[in-house]
Structure formats: C-alpha cells, structure tokens
Subunit: 243 residues, 6 copies
Amino acid sequence: MRIVVTNCNTTQEMTEEIVRGARAAAGPGTTVTGLTPSWGPESAEGWLDSYLSAAAVIDLVRTYDSPYDAVVMAGFGEHGREGVRELVDVPVVDITEAAAHLACLLGRRYGVITTLERSCGQIEDSLELAGVGRNCAAVVGTGLGVLDLGDAARTEAAFLTAAERACAAGAEVLVLGCAGMTGLQRVVGEKLGLPVVDGVAAAVKLAESLVALGLTTSRAGSYAKPVPKRRVWGASPGRPPSP
Amino acid sequence: MRIVVTNCNTTQEMTEEIVRGARAAAGPGTTVTGLTPSWGPESAEGWLDSYLSAAAVIDLVRTYDSPYDAVVMAGFGEHGREGVRELVDVPVVDITEAAAHLACLLGRRYGVITTLERSCGQIEDSLELAGVGRNCAAVVGTGLGVLDLGDAARTEAAFLTAAERACAAGAEVLVLGCAGMTGLQRVVGEKLGLPVVDGVAAAVKLAESLVALGLTTSRAGSYAKPVPKRRVWGASPGRPPSP
Amino acid sequence: MRIVVTNCNTTQEMTEEIVRGARAAAGPGTTVTGLTPSWGPESAEGWLDSYLSAAAVIDLVRTYDSPYDAVVMAGFGEHGREGVRELVDVPVVDITEAAAHLACLLGRRYGVITTLERSCGQIEDSLELAGVGRNCAAVVGTGLGVLDLGDAARTEAAFLTAAERACAAGAEVLVLGCAGMTGLQRVVGEKLGLPVVDGVAAAVKLAESLVALGLTTSRAGSYAKPVPKRRVWGASPGRPPSP
Amino acid sequence: MRIVVTNCNTTQEMTEEIVRGARAAAGPGTTVTGLTPSWGPESAEGWLDSYLSAAAVIDLVRTYDSPYDAVVMAGFGEHGREGVRELVDVPVVDITEAAAHLACLLGRRYGVITTLERSCGQIEDSLELAGVGRNCAAVVGTGLGVLDLGDAARTEAAFLTAAERACAAGAEVLVLGCAGMTGLQRVVGEKLGLPVVDGVAAAVKLAESLVALGLTTSRAGSYAKPVPKRRVWGASPGRPPSP
Amino acid sequence: MRIVVTNCNTTQEMTEEIVRGARAAAGPGTTVTGLTPSWGPESAEGWLDSYLSAAAVIDLVRTYDSPYDAVVMAGFGEHGREGVRELVDVPVVDITEAAAHLACLLGRRYGVITTLERSCGQIEDSLELAGVGRNCAAVVGTGLGVLDLGDAARTEAAFLTAAERACAAGAEVLVLGCAGMTGLQRVVGEKLGLPVVDGVAAAVKLAESLVALGLTTSRAGSYAKPVPKRRVWGASPGRPPSP
Amino acid sequence: MRIVVTNCNTTQEMTEEIVRGARAAAGPGTTVTGLTPSWGPESAEGWLDSYLSAAAVIDLVRTYDSPYDAVVMAGFGEHGREGVRELVDVPVVDITEAAAHLACLLGRRYGVITTLERSCGQIEDSLELAGVGRNCAAVVGTGLGVLDLGDAARTEAAFLTAAERACAAGAEVLVLGCAGMTGLQRVVGEKLGLPVVDGVAAAVKLAESLVALGLTTSRAGSYAKPVPKRRVWGASPGRPPSP
C-alpha cells in the first residue's frame, strides 16, 4: 500500500520528520512518500497560513503524478481536506480528525495540546466540522511557536503544563496538536500516565484501514469531483514579499 | 495480534458469521477468536435485550482467560463498551462507534440503516455518547427483525429503501447497522454508488490500529479499574422463563 | 397506590435506607415496597457495575409477581430504565432523571454532587439522554466512595466543598447524586441556603403523579414490549470470583 | 395544600375550564383557586399577547393577598414564569414545562400539538429555556385559533392530523399545547394509542410534589427577590384601543 | 430616516443618555427620537422587571403615533422584541442582539460584561434565542446595580475585572451589557486593547442598514400581525404599591 | 468611506455585477472598489475551488496597496475571511455571515437558497462557524450551476422551488446564497411575500456600520497579525492544466 503524506508547509525538514513518524506507524506492506509543497508558508500558524497552505497542498496533490492508495494530510488544524477529497479517488485522512477519532476510543473525553494559543480556535473548528468535537474537553496552547520547539526541556515543560490544564478540563486522553514530535508523545504519556495520540500515526493507520476495506470518499453530495473549469494556481512571478 | 470478538447474543451461528466478517477484514498477522455469551438474549432487539446482553458480554470477557490484544464488541447499538473498557487492559472497540468513525472520513454526513425501527433510538444514543453523532444525518429502520433477514430479496429491497431515505436526509455514506451482512454491504453500495461501512470490519481495523500504535484505554477518570467488591453474575437456577 | 422501589445493588441495608426515604416522600395512600436484586454488585460504582446492575434489576422486576402501580429505580446514574420501561405496563421513574426534572423547576441551572469522580461522566450521560442535561451546570464528585459515607463529618465537609464548586459553575439548585442521604440533604441545603433535591423522593412524587393522571409509558417506538425469545438471565453456578 | 392557578388571559370562562382540569388532577387535600388577570389580552396568541399576559399575570399574583402554597401558570408557551418565581416564596410551575417534564418520562421523544402555527416557535423557545427541549421531536400547529376550538369535530380532526405529523417526526408521547381540553386529550390518546399529557394536570401534580417535599425556588442567582424600586403596573385610563 | 429608540424603563435621564449614544452613532440623515414608557419599572433588573418592561414598551410603541422608519429597543437583555416585531411594519432591532451581531464580525468569540450577576442568565437566553449565542464565550456580571454606576472609578474597576474574566473565558471582543456608557466603552477598550461594542450604537447602525436596504420583519410565521381582539394595557388606578 | 469588495473568482464580469450591487447598497459617502483575483478559479463551486479562492483572495488583498476602510468578501460560502482578518487592520465582512446577521433580525428562522446542492454543506459550515447557524432552518440548492444562471425564467423557477422548500422547513426570511442577483431577490420576495436578503448588500451595510463606529477586528487571540515568515504565493510558471 502506498501512502502519500503531505506536509502543510514548505519546510523540507518538517516533511522528513513527519515521514519518519508515518513510517514508524505504517504496517509492513505500506510505503510512505512525503510530499512538500513547492509554495505556501514555511510553517502554518493561523488562518492566513492555513488557507495558503490548503491551496498549496491541493496544488501539490493535483500535480503529483505517481500512483498511490491514500493521502495523509499532515497539518494539525490546517484547512484543505475537503478539497483533496474532491480531487482524488483514494481515501484522504487529515491528522487532526484522525487523532480525535482514535482518542474517542480511549477515553470519555480527550484534550488537545498544541503550540501557539492562536491555533486553538482553528483546531476546535476543524474537530467540530469533522464531527468529533463533542468529546473534546479542551484545546490548550503552550505559547510556543513551531520554531521554539528546538529547546527540548522548555518544550517538554510547556507541554506538560498544557496537558495538566487539559486534564483539569476533563481530558482523559491527550492528542498532540502538532506533527513530528515522537519524543514528546512518550514523555507526556509517561509523566501523566495517559494515552497520548499522535495525529500522523493515527492518520496512517486510518488510511491503511480504509484502503484495506476497499473504502473511499463518497462522490454523492459534498465531495463530488471538481467541475472542469479554468483555474490558475498561484501568482505570476515578480510579486511583493510576504505580508 | 489476537483480537477477541464478542457476539452480543447467545446464537452461535451469529458469532460464526461475525467472525467470518472480522477475519475478512483482519490484517495478515491478526487472529480472530469469536466468543459467544453463555447467557443473555438469543438476539438483541431493544433496551431490555441490550442491557441483558451488556452484562452477559462483560461476564464473558471477565471469565475468558486466554491472552488477547484487543476486544471488538459486535452488537450494533448495544450497551456495554464502557464496562469492558474498565475491565480489560487492552483496547476495546464497539462496532457502532467504529463504523461511524470510518464513515466520518468518507463523507460530510453519514446515515445508518438498521433492522427494526425500535433500535433506531438506541443507535442514536450510542453514536451520540461515542462522540460521533454530529455528522449522522439519519438512522433508518427497515422494519425487519433479525430473524427476517433470511429472505435475501426482501432484505435487500428493504435495505435499499431505507438507504434511500437516509440519503434523502443528507447521508453521503452509509453504515450497516447490524452485524454479519457482507453481501448486503456490497449490494447496497453498488446499487446506490455509495461507500457502505460495516461495523465489524471497521472495528477490527481500529482495534488493529490501536494495538499497532501501543495505545490503550485511559485509566484516568471514567474508565478506571473496577473497584474490587462482591459481584454476582446472574441468577441462581430454577428461575422463571423469559418475560 | 403501590410503588415498587428497586435498589441497584445487592446490599439490603441500602434498600432499607432507600425505602425509608421513599416512604417519607410518599403521599398518604401510597405503599412502598423495596426490592433488592438477588445478584449484581454490592454497590454500583462505574460502568461495569452499572451494566451488571441494569441486568440484575430488570431480572428482579421481571420475576417479581405481586401487583404494583409504578416502579422507582433507585440507582443514581445507573443504567436500565429503558429496559424496565419495555418490560412493565406501569410508569417507571429513575431517580437520576426525577431529581433533575424537579430541579429544573427550582432554578435556572442545577448541579449534581455525587460520590466518586468516576461516576460524574455516567451521570452526565444519564441526564443528557433523559432530556434534562441542558440546564445542568456541573456534576461534581466528592472523592468519597459509597463505603466512605459512614464518617458523617467528613462526608458533610466533602459534599459542602463539592456543592460550592457546583455553585461556582452556575448551579442555583443542587441534586444529591446518591440514594439514602436525608441528613446530608438538610445540612447542605441549610448551610448553602439552596434547595437540595433528593432523587428518591423526587421519583416517588413523579411516579405518584403519573399514576394519578393515568399516564404510562408509550408503546410506540422505543419502548415497545420486548419481542418474545429465549433469554438466559445469568451464569450457571461455579463461576470465577469477581474481577 | 392551596394551589393558585393563573389564567394567562382575561376570559373568565377559560379560567373556569382550567380550574376544572386542575381540580380533576389535584390530590384529595388540594384546593385549587383560579385567578383571572384584570387586564391583558382576552386570549394569548403570539408574542405581543404573551408579553402583555406576562405582565398582567405577574401583577395579578403580586396583588393577590390570600395565602397559598404554589402557583400554576396556565398559559401554554406564554412568558412570565421566571418573573413569578422572583416574586413569590412558593413553587411556581408553568404548564408548558410541566407537560414536557412528564412527557420525558413516558417516551424517548415527545411532540406538542397546539392551536395556531404562529405559536409553535414560542413554545419551542419556552421548552428550550426550561431545559426540556432536547427530547421534543416536533411542535405542530393545527391552524385553529382559540376561538375555533368550539367546533368539536373539526377540532378533533385537526388535532389528530397534527398528532400524526408529530409522530412521523418521532414523537412517542404527545403534549396538548393548550389549556382546558380534557375531551381532546382522551380522544387523541385513544385513537392513536399514545399517552397524551395535559399541561394543567401535569403542573398541578408537579406543584403538589414540590410542596410535599418542602422545595421551593432558589434565591441564589437568577430568581433572587426583585430589588425594591418604583414600578407602575399599567397605563393610566383613557388610552387608545387595542392595536 | 427616523429612528425611534425605546428605553426599557421609566427613567427619563436614562432615555436622554441613550439618545445621546444613539445620535452619536447615527448617520447624517438619521433623526433619533427617544421614548420613555409611561409605566413599568424605573430600572430593569431581573425577569419580573423585564416582563413588566416588555409590556410597557409594547404599549409605548403601540400608542406612539408619529411616523418612523425603525425601532431600536434599548434594554440590554430585556424581553419584548418579538412583540414589537409583530406590532409594527418597520424593522425592530434590540440592542442585545445588535451588539452580538457586530461582535461576531470582530473576533471568534465575544464576551458580555454587565451590571448585576442576576442579569447574566437573562442575557444568555436573549442571545441564544436571537441566534447568536454560539460564539458568546461568557456573560460576566460586575456586581454593580444600575444605581451604583454613578461612582466612575469603582464602575471602571469593576468592569475591567469583569472584562478580564470574559477574556480568560475566551472572549476576543467585548460587549457592554448595559445602555448609556460611552465613557466606559472607551476606557475598557483602551486598557485591554480590545474592540468594545455598545448595543445602542450597534442597533442604530443595524436599523439604518435594514431601512436602507428596504428590509423589514417577515410576516410569515412567527411575527404575523397580532390578531385583533380585546386587550387591556394595565391595571386600573388605586393599586397596591410595588412588590 | 472606501470599501474594497473582493470577488472570489477570476471572472471580471462577476466582479462588475457584484460592484453594481454593492454600490446600490452603499451610503452616500461610500466608494466601492471591486477587486478581481489574478489567479484562482473562474467560479467557485465546492471545497477545492473555495480553498484555491481563499488563497487567491488573501493574496489579492495582500498586494493591493491603495488605502481603504473596510473589506467585503463576496464569495457566498467561500473560505478565507479569518485569513483576511489577520492580514488587514480594517473590518472584514464576508457576505455569507452578513446576510445571516441581517436575516436573524427579520424573522425567527431564515433559509438560504443557493446554486448547486454541493455547496449547501459548505454554506452550513460557514454559517455555523460564523456563529449564526442556530436560526438557519435550511440551506437548499437549486441544481443550477453558476453558468446556468443566464436563463432567467429557468433560474427564477428553480429559486422559487428552492425557496418553497426552505419555507416548508421553517424559514421566515430568505437569503440569496450567491452574489450578483438583484433581480432574483425582488422576484422571489414579491412572489413569496417574504424579505429576501442579498449578501453583498448586507455586507456593505455592516462594513459601513463597523467603520462608522470605529470598530475593527480584535487582535487578541484568533486574529492576531500573521507571524512574519517566508511565504510563497503560488506555483511557478509552466504548470499542468486544471484538474
């Protein structure tokens, strides 16, 4: 089985980190290919980045021409999954929803711990529309940006604090609201004695499951094939720099 | 990986049918063992049967002493999953919630088609508490009891009618709200051109996923270990016959 | 009018305590008979106990052959009420929902204070499905198990603390989330100056009300009579001891 | 026990009809006194009437100086209950919420059948704020105004049609959404084989229940005593005629 | 364009303050006329006052016979808007809903800060029924009554404290839950660096918008014209004093 | 006041149509400038188009360097508003939410009538997240694509049929779920006797209102300024054609 994993930003190192996580989770017969958008934000933090990322990732999938059996979209809380579902004929699993689906099976309420507070609302919206918001007790930010995650001790302390707040709000299971943090998952889980779900791993298993069962996106209603029409994927060169 | 699948009723043939479905869905390294309760209802239709079934299935798992890695509970809309989660240290997946989790990934709204109308409310409650009720467009009964399912043509016609009602209510994906009906899944899917999710297959894949990721039920809060105490599992002999 | 009150566990002393409370609430023409299950848990704490209790209580009612006019089910947050509704032709009132119904009439939001935190989720689910969850501001545990309730001073202090947390969450009325605690009801009410509703008393009054008005459970839809079939109510002798 | 029943309009015959229903439901030791507002609308249909009625009924209770133990407010879907709760020290039960509370005990979903369609929204709002809207499957109008209810055959036919629509929407129990229609209750119930709850009767039983248990409105938060201040209850004489 | 602004109480100074705020917000071609009810409460705090106010304001509008193009109802959290909508043929905007509508455009969640805690529930209900409750993070009281607002320093401190609680609950925009406090709006906004919406100003702009677009209340369904009938607007003279 | 109106697609004629509608709604001192994205889809139908459009519109606003006081985003049900809110310091109003905000003021429930059925879910999501989904009775498609709207008689008939379905679901006010259809608004309104809200007009008035009141997007929490970083807005030349 061939799973394509799309990073939500243009940072190649992040793609590699995500692919490592995906491969660790993948079953024996599964190959994982990481794809990095050729345009978009270098990291996705906030709605502007998320919408830019969504278009870039759709464009990435649209122009990727090797065969594959499923798409995993690795941007926690980022937009775009419905668009990719319209586009391709294979199952599409977003890591946000994937983590929540598995978390629901492990406790009565789950919580998400993520990087910046500004992302919390976006994640809540993503879970709600995916249909798994009901049992989410809290989405808690750590105050750390993606670039701050380099300092392991500080990151660990910040995630533990956020995790405790999620538990105080009723979470019995935790979801790591960012990609590529295997070490963090283990530390938080061990210190708090709770299951911690990583979205990339969860999405890989759900994608494998759908493929194994021969299931793919419904074409009835929402996710019908895009109507053929003229679409231009991005600006012409010589544009002003970032906002 | 060893998955134990519990039937919700005492009918051995049903267990065998469920096990066939589970094995068809299981990955190469997975063994499936079907367990039939030694007491309880011969089929579960309605709340009385469901509660009787829940206790019998918990008792069944409690007294099963071979090792296993996950439990799949094969009673669509039946009670008991939280109790089994308290009891065992491995992941527990109920087929009702499992089907809904996968269905959410395949369309914006899903619908459930089931046997008797009297079961619809129970299924709605089960989905709601599992945290996946939001994107359920409808739960529709066929008017057929479990015993009526023998007549294939009539069953197929009734399920197609119910499926159309679910679609009219907005369903883009269907869930088969009963166990052991592989043929029906294919017929409905082909005739309506929609993905159809079978709960047993879905639960097997989710159980495999959780085991592969090393995830199991949280002990924090709701699903703590049962407090040791005196419990008597059923009536003494010489009791009155069924209601 | 003859009301049968079912204890949710096998402890005879608890039945007697509940019957005392029920009789104190009952009108002049009402007789109260307490029934203790012959099997099930000795106290109900958590889902496993609750499902075991549900089956045992249904079996208890099923095999009780004296005439009566209504059933009160005295297990706060415990399962089973829908099953008993299917079974009998007279009104069935569960103490969880009963307390909430009356509490809704006494303030804009109510709170529930109960024993172990692990029961809070189960109570929330029970209120939600009964249709009275909306105005519940909080369900708060005291950390005390049923067996810890013997120490009156400690119990009182723990319930007062929990009650204050419920009030901070917006509760204007309190519900005592356990059976047989008349003294506690008075103490909490007086110290906090709030109405405190006891579920057993509330259920007795609601049962009397339904009987007086000639109302009983609808047979249309959910609570139709159980379909006749083979049902076995419990394990054969010589079983392994409790989990 | 002395229950005061307030009509929501100035029509004395309606008060008498309501009192008859209330007395039929009242227990042996209960006396029922009907109160008719000295001002307000002659019948309450729509929000304008409802707010006028609310002020008139509050004024009525405010100036009634005989002792009583509970207030039943007999205006289905009409406003005012929270204001009366602030005003008096005894329990206050509105017939809208009362009918819904009992209906929730009799089936998984209930439906309301009422007079004009324009009242349906008001009733839905009233049920929602009372905390019992969740299990309401539908509120259905008959197209008949209060004055049209004189033609018994037409009324019966219209209510049966509305009841069938409520059942098609999932109602298993019916609530009569208007006061003073004992005959209708029996006819609808018998023809459809469903329990039918009358709000006046339900409210009398709930009021009796609260009084018997020594429970009354919480003064904490929402329903604190009105702050003493200057209030003028209505216009000076010589005003323009009705809208 | 002629906007009529109705005060919810009989205090003329409050009307003048509200009119000043309305005029400051009104566009160049808009004239604002303040109307003070001739009866009702001198300030509206709690449900009893609110229902009395609703009837008095409806009566005020009913008997006001100069032409106008829209009605703004200036009682934060007070009842009556649906009744005025039935009555008049021009748009009706209540300041509670108006503030929330604009606040929704300025942030993902808004919070309301108001006077007495007892008003919070009423405001929550008003927002919910207006259809804009979803994105309300909190309604927080200051503990100050309307009469306490004279002490500017104390008022400012109390509102800042309440605003911080609203922000802690997730509010990104604030709504001032009382009329006539322009200074407060500026102070809170500057100190906290947040947009602060005043209901009177918001309602004036929304009323102007509806009039400019030629839109007015639908007569289909809920807000049909009141049925002609006998209505008496208030008590005869020689009544007992306030509660 | 200078309002910039962004079309969601690259079709210049559509921009002109939208600008005509915006100017018709704008107040005397308001100038309207229409902006057409230089890339993106030629019409937006479905999620793929919507995400592509969102990025293109954000890019459009980002690179537009004339001064303006507010942004109106004219894509019904399209994504992007939160991203533009992060980007600019002036108020941003999306026509979807704008229409709903005004519709809420005109009736108890509103309905949306739109082009293709596939857009209905997207519109529902947009309304829900904007906080105005509660009072939406239905979103109904006409089966017509944007290109089919040229045939006036067929379009009118299709929209009337859809409008009747919305009314049957409880809508008392209608929202036109597409831009640039002034004639349709009048026809539907007159034939059905209901207020019909056009999103472009509504958004212009709301934008004018916010500007007049000196209100703009909160920077606290969700809509903070985008973090400076490297972002690439679109693909390099020589790309494959549309999907």
